[in-house]
């Protein structure tokens, strides 16, 4: 009987507060960045081998599909970066109080949104010039 007891764990019904969402996204983005590592190293190799391979690396990145990948990776990096800084601050007892947890999480979201916005502007400016 004991072994057959049900366990309630419906993740769609259990509310995850904003700090929890930030933390979960930190994990997801970390895994995405890990998966991108071999490709990043491959691009690094292309970028130093010769002038031709450097151009090839640029061509790969300029493919339309790659735009989506680039946005995904930029967001991953931005989120992992700012959420990571928040975690470091929490370790230092900054923003660890309940009243500060939501504010800190919002600051992470604002910072990453701003970063993506600025990078997009810089990149479009770079393309058009």
């Amino acid at each position: 009987m004991t072994d057959q007891r049900p366990v309630y764990l419906n993740l769609f019904k259990i509310r995850l507060p904003l700090p929890g969402i930030i933390s979960f996204a930190h994990r997801i983005t970390g895994v995405i960045l890990f998966i991108s590592l071999p490709f990043a190293v491959y691009l690094l190799e292309l970028s130093v081998e010769s002038e031709q391979s450097f151009e090839k690396a640029q061509q790969i990145l300029n493919q339309p599909v790659m735009l989506f990948v680039q946005i995904l990776l930029l967001w991953s990096l931005a989120h992992h970066f700012f959420a990571g800084i928040r975690f470091l601050l929490i370790d230092a007892e900054i923003g660890v109080e309940k009243s500060q947890a939501h504010l800190g999480s919002w600051l992470v979201l604002v910072a990453e949104a701003l970063t993506l916005f600025v990078i997009t502007i810089l990149m479009t400016a770079g393309v058009s010039s």
């Binding site: 994990r27 970390g30 895994v31 960045l33 890990f34 590592l37 071999p38 190293v41 690094l44 190799e45 970028s47 130093v48 002038e51 450097f54 151009e55 990096l77 970066f81 990571g84 800084i85 470091l88 370790d91 810089l122 770079g126």
Partner: protein, 114 residues
């Protein structure tokens, strides 16, 4: 379990220390990208193979490998409970990370030699 290498406190500490270096490194690279036109072959190579920058990148790679290892290890320890599968995935992660690390160091050292 030898593959959990370094137990609890030490990986946690290494995770934080490497994170701090990575933050500094990302800020430095962002500054370099903004202040010069490294998006061309010549200037990019000049930037990368400036001894200071090569050192920065080298330390970054080591910090990143540790950081990624501990992070991915934590993901596996949280979700994968079958011991054999867990050991297999952890070993695979170590392989991928060391492979990537050696590859980058080859890239960094090759032109130091040439």
């Amino acid at each position: 379990m030898s593959l959990y290498v370094l137990e609890g406190l030490r990986p946690w500490g290494i995770q934080r220390v490497s994170a701090v270096y990575i933050v500094v490194f990302i800020l430095y690279v962002s500054y370099s990208l903004l202040s010069s036109d490294v998006l061309a072959y010549e200037s990019w190579n000049a930037w990368l193979y400036h001894p200071f920058n090569t050192t920065m990148v080298g330390i970054f790679v080591i910090a990143l490998l540790f950081h990624a290892w501990i992070g991915m290890r934590d993901v596996v320890l949280d979700y994968v409970h079958n011991i054999m599968l867990r050991i297999f995935i952890l070993a695979l992660l170590v392989g991928v990370l060391i492979g990537c690390g050696l590859w980058v160091f080859r890239i960094l050292l090759l032109s130091v030699v040439s």
